[in-house]
């Protein structure tokens, strides 16, 4: 019997910020489907709630959990900012998983707590995830400077890199983009993009077993 690598992902897409994540998340799904050994289970829009996430994880036992959405120090949210995972409540659901949380602040308390209760690894942000965009679409030239590095974590994991290597690849992309915007002679890059990119670079965290892979 073939062994599949299983992904469970949340994709609420209920406001401008999470819609921008959703555009990029489609690339994750496309890349995953190109691999013959990956199964993706996704919760979108209103279906992104705690009950559905719990059932999906318990039923499919994913190796990788991708949480796209808003967050706080101890929680990540789904549709309409409903809590999906919260410290002291249901973080045990993520035991033995690799987690990528593209959400504000959850790398501060939720990430360490997940690792404490047995998650293999957690990559996320210990402060706000900031970005800038001009238009809500999948090819915005500003958004891609932020989301390219952020999503590199998941792209690398799908391609078989370890957690630590996926994190390093993401950090490298942040630095490449920072270099690009600082050297480019456009005020908007220097003034607006560079500080936000630097913020995301220094607050991205990689916790747990860096040698784990998906």
């Amino acid at each position: 019997m073939a062994m599949f690598r299983v992904i469970v992902a949340t994709n609420p897409a209920d406001d401008p910020a999470t819609k921008m994540l959703s555009f990029w998340h489609k690339q994750v799904v496309t890349l995953a489907k190109e691999q013959k050994d990956i199964k993706v289970f996704e919760l979108t829009r209103e279906k992104t709630n705690k009950q559905n996430l719990t059932e999906l994880i318990e039923k499919n036992n994913p190796h990788l959990v991708i949480l796209n959405g808003h967050g706080s120090n101890d929680s990540v949210f789904g549709f309409s900012q409903n809590i999906l995972i919260r410290c002291g409540e249901n973080e045990i659901l993520l035991k033995e998983k690799i987690i990528h949380a593209l959400s504000c602040n959850s790398g501060k308390e939720l990430g360490p707590q997940c690792v404490k209760v047995g998650a293999k690894a957690f990559i996320g942000y210990k402060e706000e995830f900031k970005m800038m965009y001009l238009k809500e679409n999948d090819n915005d030239e500003f958004a891609k400077l932020f989301l390219g590095p952020a999503f590199e974590v998941v792209f690398s994991l799908i391609r078989g890199f370890s957690v630590q290597k996926a994190f390093n690849n993401s950090q490298r992309k942040y630095l490449e983009n920072l270099k690009l915007v600082i050297m480019e002679n456009k005020p908007v890059f220097n003034v607006a993009v560079a500080p936000l990119l630097y913020h995301d670079l220094i607050h991205q965290v990689c916790l747990g077993d860096g040698s784990a892979s998906f």
Binding site: D15, G71, Y133, F142, L175, V191, A192, A194
Partner: protein, 84 residues
């Protein structure tokens, strides 16, 4: 104590002016996402948040100043040299 508070206030005001001046050279159509709220902010909305000393405004100033300090003290350049 009063003199120190006055000096700190002046520094904060200077930072505020610097960040607003930097934002003012952007086109107003640019949008920023910030924090856990579902909101995104236009350039002018961010400037208003800064002027009224809201948490969003304070966070924006902090982000800008951390970047500028890293640029000034060479720590950012050091990291950028990590990539060829």
């Amino acid at each position: 104590m009063e003199i120190i508070e006055q000096k700190n206030k002046t520094t904060k005001e200077k930072e505020k002016e610097l960040v607003i001046a930097r934002l003012n050279i952007l086109f107003p159509e640019y949008h920023f996402t910030s924090g856990n709220g579902a909101k995104s902010f236009s350039r002018d909305e961010i400037i208003n948040e800064i002027k009224k000393d809201s948490q969003v405004g304070k966070d924006f100033i902090k982000t800008d100043m951390v970047f500028l300090r890293a640029l000034k003290d060479g720590s950012l350049l050091k990291r950028l040299n990590e990539v060829s």
